[in-house]
């Protein structure tokens, strides 16, 4: 989680603009909004409106809340075509488009596989062949039929379920930024759980928002420092969540294509113009790895990517158009800079 106090210490505050910071729990994580407003009144009303928008989207997109629109779709769509509103429908269309573009590496139907591997209970276990086979029968974006004319969702197989956890937070960040822009806020940074953030404009007197990408496993160390202005950065990583079995280290990010957790990738970070894209495609980058991932990023305007590969203690870095690296496809052994607690962090 970002540390508002540290951020405040490091960002120059010029009167009459003041930095306002507020954090709230939403979508299973902590959203933090940093903003420069005209005055305290504009700041508090804008923060409230932005968090209200995030809460609205949690109510629509949560797969934990029985009352959400997504839960209603999940309950009904295997039996009948379910009409949904244009916003949810468009996000589902976008999710399936990312699945196609990533050849299945990004997949909002991956839930049954996660459950088979025991990830929803916070642990991990090797599923039986039967469990794995049954789970895979319910996984795959091709099993979600969207009818744009009728605006309906229908599942082509029983057991299919939608989980927008790898795209919904990014979408909520984008929508919150839209609210802040409409409210006339001068500059803001909206951060979802330190994994997806958007830097709107720049703090007074600065060229952008300074963001540190931390080292996997040691957040006090910085892998890279970037300055963002009207861009999003998202990091997929699973260093903290993993389990070991028979000498293999399994992380909690699933490769939907083969039904096995990703191995050999510790962290993937993406910079792109919007947070819905970075949230979804940083996840795809993690699953695809740098070789295939770079081909995907080449199709995303303004994309810059950074992978950290290997095992703990033997990490190496691969980048694509990354701001503080020379050349493309540059691979090097990681020598992280020790820069504790500077600016906004992500990871």
């Amino acid at each position: 989680m970002s540390n508002p106090q540290k951020a405040k210490d490091l960002i120059e505050v010029k009167s009459p603009d003041e930095l306002s910071v507020q954090s709230r729990n939403a979508m299973g994580t902590v959203f933090t909004i940093y903003l420069y407003a005209r005055d305290g009144g504009q700041a508090s009303a804008s923060l409230e409106a932005a968090f209200e928008e995030i809460e609205r989207l949690e109510e629509a997109l949560s797969d934990y809340r029985a009352t959400s629109e997504l839960s209603r779709i999940n309950r009904l769509a295997a039996r009948q075509a379910v009409t949904t509103d244009p916003e949810v429908f468009a996000l589902l269309q976008r999710s399936l488009a990312y699945s196609r573009r990533s050849a299945g590496a990004f997949d909002v139907t991956v839930g049954p596989l996660m459950r088979a591997w025991g990830f929803f209970r916070g642990k991990g276990r090797y599923p039986t062949d039967r469990e794995l086979r049954r789970a895979r029968e319910s996984v795959g974006s091709e099993k979600v039929d969207l009818d744009p004319a009728a605006r309906t969702v229908r599942f082509a197989a029983p057991g299919v379920e939608l989980d927008l956890g790898a795209i919904g937070k990014g979408y909520a960040v984008d929508r919150a930024v839209k609210v802040l822009r409409e409210a006339g806020v001068k500059a803001a940074l909206v951060d979802a759980g330190s994994s997806t953030l958007y830097a709107m404009n720049a703090p007074p007197g600065k060229s952008g928002w300074t963001v540190h990408v931390p080292m996997p496993g040691d957040r006090s160390q910085t892998v890279s420092t970037v300055t963002l202005r009207n861009e999003s950065l998202s990091t997929s990583g699973s260093y903290e969540k993993f389990f070991q079995l028979d000498g293999h280290r399994y992380c909690h990010v699933m490769d939907p294509r083969n039904g096995v957790p990703v191995q050999g990738v510790l962290q993937a970070t993406l910079i792109a113009p919007d947070s819905t894209t970075t949230d979804a495609l940083s996840n795809a980058m993690f699953v695809m790895g740098p070789e295939a991932g770079r081909k995907l990023l080449a199709t995303v305007p303004g994309a810059r990517g950074l992978w950290i590969l290997g095992e703990p203690g033997a990490q190496r870095l691969v980048q694509w158009q990354w701001p503080d690296c020379a050349g493309d496809g540059n691979e090097r052994t990681l020598a992280a800079k020790r820069e504790k607690g500077k600016g906004q962090k992500t990871g």
Binding site: R65, D85, A183
Partner: protein, 322 residues
Amino acid sequence: MNRREFIGRAAAAGGALLLAESGESWPKAPSDQINLGIIGVGSRGQQLMRTFLRVPGVRFAGLCDVYEPRFAAGREITGENTPIYHDHRELLAARDLDSVIVSTPLSLHSQHVIAALESGRHVYGEKSLALTVEECYAIVDAVKRTGKHFQVGLQYHYAPWYRETLRRIQAGKIGRITQVYAYWHRNNSWRRPVPNPSDKKLERLINWRLYKQYSGGLVAELGSHHINFANEVFGSAPESVVGSGGIDFWKDGRETQDNVQVTYRYPAGQTLVFSAITTNQLDGAQVRVYGTDGSAVLTEADAIFYYEPKRPQSAVAQQTVV
């Protein structure tokens, strides 16, 4: 399903933010399309639009507002180039409307609801019914005169845990109901951002809830949901009320109070206590129904029943989640 049946179901959907879960089998032929118009495309109106668009066959045929940015917001929700109107009379003159949503500031409800009813449309109107008693009676008269369906958008009244709670209460599961304590506690200014605050007209337009010319304040805007639910629990309307409140914290030029505490007395000797504050959110939005044999606590997500100690513990769970 014909259009009359739709009105009942769609109204339930809007009020409770829930949809019926069976028989989504409306024919999709254009003749069965339901064309809605909306007067007032602000934050509440936008949420109603999203909810109604989850009903098969619903399409918005007209957006009406006096604030230009609302049209882009409304069209973003419909996903199409929906016709726009700056005057509700122009919207109501459109020939392809089946029903109308009224989600304007409270002081405009009666004008817009009555005009929509008299144009021959069914109406879903946001709560509260109207700002004055006379306006409320005028709406009732218009509904009777036109024979059109009209529903007030009270939150959660169709949520399954609310309906189940009412069923259990009416079945005597928590004994004789003597009190309802209802809270709407939040920790914010209740103020919405205004892009250009020096524009006083825009400030009053966007933050109409804070000005007596348009708003009934916290009791009308928040308490109305809880008061109507208490009326359902008690089976009658209250006969007397006392209350207090003030502008005690947010001294920012607003005219409506930032905290209220109101006590309603019902004919059978029952009491509703409603409290709305804007400086602490611990209790959130909840309703506590107290009976001689137990209690029901309703939140925005569920209802929990607690039973009084005199009920034999060996036979009945002391707590049930609905």
